[in-house]
């Protein structure tokens, strides 16, 4: 018992709780823990895309095999379980957005859209309609109650933290949500899965974006938006035309690999101009950005311009010291100033603002800039590069 303390969801004894079960080990253990804690547990699995005929692959979620896995776990636990076929909603709210973003030269995060527009929207509404007191998910994030209301915090295990993907969660949604695994290390989750006798205990973690087989995003974009694959020019930041490319959808800001251009210095994608079908490249020093404009921001705490905060600009990057320079709560736009220039800040990714381990809010990166200060730094780093 000391190894696996019973969870407390801060709900009345026996309350009805819907668990979003993807068929993976995390949400399966979540369901087991919710049930063990004495809540009336209802598993719901969303079928989000049609994988009929697709080869079975390890490391994705929410296709047909995963629905079967989730059902097997629910049967093992003896809880009610439903599979909802929401492929059309998912297509309209997540896949189309993903494709449009890529076609516009941005680097989207469909998992955020899925949380925002499917799981914490329609699924949360369904849970309320079913008379549930909460919707629990297997996300590695924590939900705490503070003096100013409900708060979202990083998962305890930094390497597993998924709070970045939850930035768009509103306070009203967060009130209804529970993340029982937020304090758990991953290896303990697998241990619990085995101890509960769940068949998914050894199932690999999901890695890819679930609906893109083999991570070939460009192929999917080309299929759904053939016009987005127009060839265009590769241009150096100093204005030189360096060659041509097969379409901006194949590129991501910050990327070096795949740029087949002869030259002395290694070149990186600095910007994508989808309207002009232009890929702008430059030396590593040209990647640094210290001003970020975001749109569609969601604030869980009122941003304070005088306060030192940290931001994450990619899910796998460590946070950077920053300040929220301006936040327009009406338009949802906000401006972030980074203490140091950061490389590879890609429009379309999320900029998530943290105070310690607490998520203050975040938004989608619309544009990035370099201040005069950072140009000096860039110069310095180029000199450093030249010396090495």
């Amino acid at each position: 018992m000391t190894d696996f303390p019973p969870i407390d969801l801060d709900l009345p004894k026996g309350a009805r709780v819907v668990v979003a079960m993807s068929g993976g080990v995390d949400s399966s253990v979540t369901a087991a823990l919710v049930q063990q804690a004495g809540y009336e547990t209802i598993g719901v699995t969303l079928r989000l895309y049609d994988d009929n005929g697709a080869p079975k692959r390890a490391g994705a979620c929410c296709g047909g095999d995963d629905a079967r896995d989730a059902r097997a776990v629910a049967d093992k636990l003896g809880i009610a379980h439903y599979v909802l076929d929401w492929a059309s909603q998912f297509r309209a709210n997540v896949i189309d957005d993903f494709v449009n973003e890529y076609a516009a030269g941005r680097t989207p995060i469909p998992c955020v859209r899925c949380n925002q527009r499917v799981k914490f929207a329609d699924l949360l509404d369904s849970a309320r309609d079913l008379g549930a007191a909460a919707l629990a998910t297997g996300h590695y994030a924590r939900r705490t109650i503070e003096s100013d209301g409900v708060a979202l915090r990083r998962g305890r295990e930094v390497a597993r933290d998924q709070s970045y993907f939850l930035f768009a969660t509103t306070k009203a949604q967060l009130d209804f949500l529970r993340f029982p695994l937020g304090d758990w290390p991953k290896d303990k989750v697998r241990e619990a899965a085995a101890a509960f006798g769940l068949s998914v205990a050894g199932k690999p973690d999901s890695q890819d974006i679930c609906f893109v087989p083999d991570g070939r995003y460009a192929e999917l974009v080309k299929k759904l938006r053939p016009e987005a694959a127009k060839p265009g020019e590769i241009v150096h930041v100093d204005g030189r035309a360096l060659g041509t490319h097969d379409g901006v959808i194949g590129f991501t800001v910050g990327q070096r690999r795949g740029l087949k251009i002869a030259g002395d210095e290694p070149l990186y994608v600095v910007a994508l101009d989808a309207a002009a079908q232009r890929v702008v490249v430059g030396p590593r020093a040209a990647l640094g950005r210290d001003q970020v404009l975001m749109r569609e921001t969601n604030w869980l705490a009122v941003p304070d311009a005088a306060r030192d905060v940290e931001v994450k600009l990619r899910s796998a990057q460590p946070p950077t010291a920053a300040r929220v320079r301006a936040a327009d709560l009406l338009t949802g736009n906000a401006e972030i100033e980074l203490a140091m220039p950061v490389e590879g800040v890609a429009p379309g990714q999320a900029c998530v603002v943290y105070d310690g381990d607490r998520v203050l809010g975040g938004g989608w990166i619309e544009t990035t800039r370099r201040s005069a200060f950072s140009r000096e730094v860039a110069t310095v780093s180029r000199l450093e590069n030249a010396q090495t």
């Binding site: 190894d3 696996f4 049930q35 076929d85």
Partner: protein, 381 residues
């Protein structure tokens, strides 16, 4: 990995304990097995014998099969030799329609719809357009079989089979009637009298799953799907499913009793109760003649899948559209054919009752549905 990990977890509390008895209101998907059918099947299962064997055990098996055929023939008022036992109505439909140029109504079961070369439209009430049928037969000389179901599985709407048969036969074509949902709800004899082929399924009338029948007016009606044996007068090879056939017969023997049981008043109480709780309730097929056991309804913005889950959590089993399309929440083709908008069609719930359904079942359904409807209203407000 802990090896004694299980000890760290107490046995999960059984928090699924419920006082309420389960309520079954999905009879059009499958009906509970009748006691008489269970007894007939048990007797057959406890015996031995292949109905094709000439010895005593074989003769007993043959007797069970022929007794069942005779019961069915009496119900249909036809000669027993015209009945072919099949694995179910899907096989019966397939046998009747394979290879033919089929004109089917737009609201047929998928096992019929799959053979349709063209479809007869239905009106907003769910009744087929007889003028269109007449016109389509005149326009296309290649059409050989017209398929019209007697009773729709989703709405309970009764098609005018007599009038359909007049038109079809006037054009010199054959009529296939899927009468699966009519059994126990309508007198089957008048349908059998005008249909060239007709299909039935045992489990919709209180018999077991996996057995059905095809009624043929003559042996030219259909090409056998299974060949190589002399069973069923060479119209369906393979050892007879004796126990299932015996159960089918025993269940069919009670069809008059089923028809005499008043379920329509329960259906009417249900619909009145729903309307009293929801002023925006829509009942599909309400304007057409319907069998008494089926109600198909929906309230705007209350998705069928939510209703299904909420009722299931209250131990009440109903259906969204036909059982085949539940799971995937595609709007029902039957409702779409009636001109129902796809968004509204996604809200449609089918409640189907049987002779043992009670007023208490309906009251609990109304109470559970009403709470869900009110929660949804409050949330949307």
């Amino acid at each position: 990995m802990k090896t004694n990990g299980a000890a760290a977890f107490p046995t999960p509390p059984n928090n699924a304990v419920r006082v309420a008895e389960p309520i079954y209101l999905d009879w059009n998907a499958t009906a509970p097995l009748k006691q008489a059918a269970r007894e007939a099947m048990r007797a057959a299962l406890d015996d031995v014998g292949n109905a094709s064997s000439p010895h005593g055990p074989g003769r007993r098996a043959r007797r069970r099969v022929e007794d069942a055929r005779a019961i069915l023939a009496r119900q249909l008022n036809i000669d027993p030799t015209r009945i072919v036992f099949t694995s179910g109505a899907t096989e019966a439909n397939t046998t009747a329609l394979t290879g033919a140029h089929v004109l089917a109504s737009a609201i047929e079961h998928p096992s019929v719809a799959v053979w349709a070369k063209s479809k007869i439209p239905v009106d907003a009430r769910g009744l087929i357009d007889l003028d269109a049928l007449d016109r389509m037969l005149g326009d296309d000389p290649l059409l050989s079989i017209v398929a019209v179901m007697a009773v729709n599985n989703e709405t309970g709407v009764i098609q005018p089979i007599g009038e359909v048969a007049d038109i079809v036969h006037r054009h010199g074509r054959r009529l296939h009637v899927d009468a699966v949902q009519a059994a126990g709800r309508l007198d089957l004899a008048p349908i059998a009298a005008v249909a060239n082929t007709m299909s039935l399924s045992a489990h919709k009338l209180g018999g077991p799953q996996g057995i059905g029948a095809l009624l043929l007016t003559d042996d030219l009606c259909a090409t056998p799907l299974l060949r190589g044996g002399s069973q069923e007068r060479r119209r369906r090879a393979g050892t007879e499913n004796v126990a299932a056939i015996a159960g089918f017969g025993a269940a069919a023997a009670e069809l008059q009793h089923d028809r005499a049981t008043d379920v329509a008043s329960l259906r009417d109480a249900l619909e009145a109760g729903l309307k009293a709780r929801a002023d925006d309730l829509v009942i599909y097929g309400e304007g057409a003649p319907r069998v008494g056991n089926t109600s198909c309804f929906g309230a705007p913005d209350l998705p069928a899948e939510t209703v299904l889950m909420a009722l299931d959590l209250e131990q009440i089993a109903v259906s969204s559209g036909s059982a085949c399309s539940s799971g995937a929440v595609e709007p029902s083709p039957v409702l779409l054919a009636m001109g129902v908008d796809p968004t509204a069609a996604r809200t449609a719930i089918r409640v189907s009752m049987g002779p043992t359904s009670t007023r208490a079942d309906i009251d609990r359904l109304l109470s559970a549905w009403g709470s869900l409807y009110d929660r949804r209203r409050r949330r949307a407000a």
